[in-house]
């Protein structure tokens, strides 16, 4: 920013200096003279405006009729198609619009053309008078004085303490809005049950997937076997367990130490829940091997174990270790080694306890 004062060259005397304000300022000329409307002077124009207003009100009646006809004459029976619904919706809209706009524009036109349009000037009153103000302050002072709260600190302090603690029960009852968070967040349905490894199944129909089904360049949306049979908490489990299964050329995968056997023949499975705020990271680009989250555009590189290469996520997608069972079906050899989905305060603690 420039430091010079633009447009007010002091030397030329254009700046009003203190004390001179009243003299130097233009005087308020007052409200401009009232200009008469056509309808004020010409009875014909007034009559015309009157007819226009009546016409607009009449239009409103037409709108109401349109609405009623559309409501009763169009039947949304069993065989009514989308086109019928669209027609009815449009006619209800037209009807209501005419009914409302007719009244609205009619009244406004009436007010503008026929009601008196003299601008009025009204004095503002002070919001409060000096007398009241003094009295009010004195009253408050007196009230405070009569309670003696200043002279009796014991009363004041115990009252403050009591008031401060009183809302605690209210907060406590909110504590039963839900269970306390526990390690459930860190576990998914993929954990082997009774020694049986969970098979990978297609989302949404739940049929198990064979390794041979997964052709090069494929992307399968996967749920754990048995998820669809759950009666309670199905969506809760699904929200943690969904997995994206992809097959690429094994040579383009670069598994780190300890993760070499987490995939099978170029088939790898990663959690579909974004480590940012939990949208499904479901966009798989089969040539670039990038996974993209459609909500906030976090991009993960499959060839680098789903490391974040763009966007707001900070942590790689968790990988699900998979293998093939005797019948050729893909199975999860264990649960995820870390909590899936968005981070939370206890996440690291849960990860450590998962791995211990």
């Amino acid at each position: 920013m420039g430091n010079h004062s633009d447009g007010s060259p002091n030397h030329s005397g254009t700046v009003a200096t203190a004390g001179q304000n009243e003299v130097e300022k233009f005087q308020d000329p007052g409200i401009p003279p009232h200009r008469l409307r056509l309808a004020d002077t010409d009875p014909k124009a007034a009559k015309r405006a009157e007819r226009q207003v009546a016409l607009l009100f009449g239009l409103s009646v037409v709108g109401t009729v349109i609405f009623l006809v559309a409501y009763f004459a169009i039947d949304l029976g069993e065989d009514a198609g989308i086109a019928t619904i669209r027609l009815q919706n449009a006619l209800l809209g037209v009807g209501t619009a005419f009914a409302m706009l007719g009244i609205g524009t009619g009244i406004v036109h009436w007010a503008k053309a026929l009601m008196p349009d003299h601008e009025v000037s009204e004095e503002r009153h002070a919001i409060r008078y000096e007398e009241d103000r003094v009295a009010a302050v004195r009253i408050v002072d007196d009230i405070v004085e009569e309670t003696g709260i200043k002279r009796r600190p014991l009363i004041r302090n115990t009252l403050l303490g009591a008031v401060a603690l009183a809302p605690l029960p209210a907060i406590a009852i909110f504590g039963d809005l839900g269970p306390r968070p526990d390690e459930k967040l860190a576990h998914t349905m993929w954990a082997p049950q009774d020694g049986n490894l969970k098979r990978l199944a297609r989302d949404p129909d739940g049929t198990p997937i064979k390794a041979s089904d997964v052709t090069l360049g494929s992307a399968f949306h996967v749920i754990p076997e048995g998820l669809n049979e759950l009666h309670e908490g199905k969506l809760n489990e699904k929200a943690k367990a969904v997995v994206l299964l992809m097959r690429l050329d094994p040579s383009s995968l670069n598994p780190s130490a300890g993760r070499e056997d987490w995939g099978y023949n170029g088939i790898v499975a990663y959690s579909k829940i974004c480590t940012h705020v939990g949208c499904p990271v479901a966009l798989y680009e089969q040539q670039t091997h990038h996974l993209l989250c459609p909500c906030h555009q976090s991009t993960f590189d499959l060839t680098q174990e789903c490391k974040v290469i763009f966007g707001p996520a900070s942590r790689p997608l968790p990988q699900l270790p998979i293998a093939v069972d005797d019948e050729g079906y893909l199975v999860a050899t264990s649960d995820f080694k870390e909590p899936v989905g968005p981070s939370y305060w206890e996440r690291d603690m849960h990860e450590r306890s998962n791995n211990s």
Partner: protein, 556 residues
């Protein structure tokens, strides 16, 4: 409206309306109120109507929302759809989604009501936003209206809360993913985040409780609070009386306009029907929130273009703009064995926090800088308060950058550019956009002020070119009448207020900072034209026609 408003003992109302008025008055005593309001003066300007748009949208929301509650069932129990929309027949879904589909396809007028409700909701928040922009840029928040500005800001937040809780109710895929994002953001809060998430959702996400809980908030708590705030807001409008734009005959001691009865009441009342009519047209012809496209909520699928409604967009955009990793530094890290997720926490809280804090505090900030303790009832034209206008525009541009970021994927597909490039550009604009906006706005405002001066002193350009006898071409300038001129010159141009010592004769550090800000505020200023200058300009112009004299004008 009747003229018979007083209830003197001997007074007998003669007209029918008068007798009704008298009947009501003698039982509940409304004559004082009517006397106060019946002829109350309201100034007339189109930009004063946005608050009314918001109020009327709210009324329409209550009407259409009541209809919807008769048919909506906020249960998350599982069901199989058996309505008339074929592409979803037999699909497993929640009762909430199923009943929303029934409202759309099987209840006569249900779709229309849903669309009226949703369009009205978008318009409600949009009109509040525009109303607040108007109030800010015209300085209507100044004394005595600071508290009403705060109430209005609370209303904006409540409107957003009402919108968000409603957005989630149909339990479709779009809103479900929106809730999931909220859950992710809540979980990023240190220490208590996981607890809040579990309490809100009644356990793990998504659970079976959230829809009915949001429903209670949406139809009871939030509207009740909004109603309460509206009452407070309007009460204060009555106490303060309306502000008015500067102009001849208008000053801080009067209100110039039309009396409430009948003209203003008719216009304002009629306007309700107009707003309703416009919303009805939109609902009749334009689809909003086609929940049938999205399908039921399921944690596995997601749709491209998953965005919140516009008023939450800026937070979503901030989330998109924040990089998770910069040069190998991960914004998520472990501290004392706990996870701190700054890549979510910072963008979710900081920009919104700054915007709302500055918004709430602004009247007091400006009052402190200017030491202006007078009452203001005449508005500033935005150009006559260049620094304030520039601050407002900087904030607005900052908001818009985040807003645009929420649609980064659509910008990419519709303008055939790379999604990543859009993000890089917007990240840059996030920092420099407000600065550019501030500088440009301030210059434009000052330039407009100079133009006003020019017109006040030399008249308006007529576009008529005249050739003088000696061959010179000039454009004829028509002088202004005194009313039009007063509009251009009747404003205050405050000057820098240097630091003053306090009662102990000490210039405190705080006072120095205030003086610094005052300098920043008022250093660049254009003084209003004075009668003496007009005199000089006329003297100079000499001839009957006012020549455009660039050399003597203030353009540099």
């Amino acid at each position: 409206m009747s003229a018979a408003t007083t209830a003197e003992p001997a007074f007998v109302a003669k007209t029918k309306a008068g007798r009704v008025t008298d009947f009501v008055d003698s039982r509940v005593g409304g004559s004082g109120i009517l006397r106060e309001f019946g002829r109350k003066v309201f100034p007339d300007h189109w930009s004063f109507m946005f608050g009314e748009v918001a109020l009327y949208s709210f009324v329409i929301l209550l009407l259409s929302g009541t209809f919807l509650t008769f048919f909506f069932d906020p249960s998350m129990a599982e069901t199989h759809y058996d309505g008339s929309y074929v592409p979803l027949k037999g699909v497993e879904m929640s009762v909430a989604y199923s009943s929303s589909l029934d409202i759309s396809f099987d209840i006569r007028g249900g779709l229309f009501m849903r669309q009226v409700h949703h369009w009205a909701a978008l318009l409600f928040v949009a009109s509040i936003a525009v109303h607040m922009l108007r109030v800010f840029f015209t300085g209507a928040f100044r004394k005595p209206r600071e508290m009403n500005w705060v109430v209005g800001s609370v209303l904006l937040i409540l409107a957003m809360a009402a919108g968000f809780t409603g957005y989630s109710l149909p339990d479709d895929l779009l809103s479900g993913n929106g809730l999931r994002i909220i859950d992710g953001v809540i979980k990023s809060i240190p220490i208590v985040g996981t607890y809040i998430s579990f309490f809100l959702f009644g356990g793990e996400f998504p659970g079976t409780a959230i829809i009915s809980r949001l429903y209670m908030l949406h139809i009871l708590l939030v509207p009740a609070l909004i109603l309460l705030m509206i009452v407070l807001h309007l009460f204060m409008v009555v106490v303060h009386k309306h502000t008015q734009y500067p102009g001849p005959g208008r000053n801080d001691n009067n209100v110039v306009g039309y009396p409430l009865g009948p003209v203003y009441a008719a216009k304002a009342g009629g306007f309700f029907f107009i707003v309703f009519g416009v919303l009805a047209l939109m609902a009749g012809f334009f689809t909003i929130n086609p929940i049938w496209n999205y399908g039921p909520y399921d944690p596995s699928p997601v749709s491209a273009g998953t965005q919140p409604d516009w008023y939450i967009g800026f937070v979503d955009g901030a989330l998109r703009l924040m990089p998770g990793v910069i040069n190998g530094f991960h914004f998520e890290y472990v501290i004392f064995g706990f996870t701190l997720t700054l890549n979510v926490l910072l963008p979710a809280l900081v920009p919104a926090g700054i915007l709302f804090t500055v918004m709430f505090m602004y009247p007091w900030i400006e009052r402190w800088i200017t030491k202006d303790d007078r009452e203001h009832h005449v508005l500033d034209r935005p150009r006559n308060a260049p620094t304030r206008t520039a601050i407002g525009m900087a904030g607005f541009v900052w908001y818009c950058v985040m807003w645009a970021a929420a649609g980064s994927d659509l910008i990419a597909t519709h303008f055939h550019v790379s999604l990543n490039d859009v993000t890089y550009w917007l990240r840059t604009l996030f920092f420099i956009g407000p600065i550019i906006a501030f500088i440009v706005t301030k210059r434009v405002a000052l330039a407009l002020q100079r133009k006003d001066r020019e017109i006040a002193l030399h008249g308006r350009e007529t576009g008529r070119i005249v050739r003088l006898p000696h061959g010179e071409f000039i454009e004829v300038h028509a002088p202004l009448d005194e009313y039009k001129r007063y509009k251009l010159v009747g404003f205050e141009s405050p000057k820098v207020l240097p630091a003053e010592p306090n009662e102990h004769g000490v210039v405190t550090g705080k006072e120095k900072r205030r003086a610094f800000l005052s300098k920043w505020f008022f250093e660049d200023r254009v003084a209003p034209a004075t009668p003496a200058e007009l005199e000089a300009a006329h003297g100079h112009g000499h001839a009957a026609v006012e020549a455009s004299e660039d050399s003597k004008s203030l353009t540099h």
